[in-house]
Amino acid sequence: MKELRELRDDEIRIVGGDRPRRNKRRPILWIASAVAAVAIAIAVLILVARGGQDTPTQPQHAPQTSIAIAPADTVQHLGRETDARAAGFTELIDTAINDVPLCLYIPHNASMTLHVGRLDKTDSTIVFAAQAADIRADNGGIVGAFVLAGEPLSWGLSKKGYCAVIGDTVTIGMADNSPLFERATETGGYFFRQYPLVSNGQLVENNPKGKSIRRAICDRQGEIMMVGTLDTESFHDFSQALVDLGVDQAIYLVGASSFGWAVDGSGMRHEFGNENTYTSGRHKMSDNISYIVWRRK
């Protein structure tokens, strides 16, 4: 079967037809590049024609400066390459996009499931945990459709973002109806819904206003990662930062003081949120509190 070049999101292509229709500015760039190349060639010819006797000739093996520019279509993961036999861990990367300080959590040699109820903090197989679906304030139920190991615990569409785990494949997206819900029930998989933040590389606006610590689960060129803000941010600024990070798909995870942790390569535990949110004060932990959990393979 004929190989087709991977398409970018700003391109279209007639199937079985001609070549991709690119951004119209590109031919102009090509023409400009060709004109520049011709001009440089003419300048070199003039210099050579002048004899060049008074110009010291450069040694043939003089060091040269080169700049490597990766093609736009090249997949460049943010996480480091790891030995597939190594014990699972979460790589933590601190960065800032548009003055939004972020921490990226990239699991290695780990697989994701969902968990409902209080998590065992002493479970040494867990390398990352964070709250997943929202909980209804009135009855403590899970907001939106939710599947736990093939068992549907909640139905309904209140948020269009979804995350499904079928086997080892994590799929993040935005849809009113996703067949992955049924797929999860048929295959013993997992599914939950949250606010969509980024869909196909485009920012998705959300109604809730105000600022808070934000968290998300993201797909960036096939690399699944969790991202958290280090300061309080609006939904819009957080989503924009994810777009500028190059994220293709992202949905929200419970933010603010919700508790979770990551275990890095040296085995050190990095906690975020407030562990005592549900043990002190007026908040009572719902039986339906849910987590995304990455465990060592």
Binding site: R8, D9, I12, I14, N200, G222, D248
Partner: protein, 124 residues
């Protein structure tokens, strides 16, 4: 398109056989693709959108021109393009009778789609 011609998409575990004009669009769900049909049904396939595109091109040849790949995540049936709104990044696919589906695509891709359909409408 030849009458009675079908598109047959097979994976290791299943097979879908459908007349191309009954496909409204095909969307990508990561490693899965979902066919949205004119009868309102959705059929998920355990293959990537690129594989579906190659299958269409291989089986339908130039008749595959019925379909247009929009960015990484969509293949649409051009016969059902009903409304394009570039600023809102909306593309509505409808037969103006029984169904209407609105999908999101990048502004640049929608701009190119609009230009393509305008040229075709003007016979250019």
């Amino acid at each position: 398109m030849a009458v009675g011609r079908f598109l047959t998409i097979t994976t290791s575990v299943d097979l879908v056989r459908i007349a191309p004009d009954r496909i409204v669009y095909i969307s990508s769900d990561g490693n899965y693709s979902t066919i949205v049909q004119a009868d309102g049904e959705m059929r998920m396939l355990s293959c990537q959108l690129g594989q579906v595109e190659r299958t269409i091109a291989a089986q339908l040849g130039t008749d595959g021109n019925l379909f247009i790949r929009i960015g990484k995540s969509l293949i649409i049936n051009r016969n059902y393009v009903y409304y394009i709104n570039i600023p809102k990044q909306k593309l509505t696919l409808s037969d103006a009778a029984t169904f209407s589906h609105t999908v999101v695509a990048s502004k640049e891709a929608l701009k190119q789609l609009k230009e393509l359909l305008e040229k075709e409408a003007n016979g250019l």
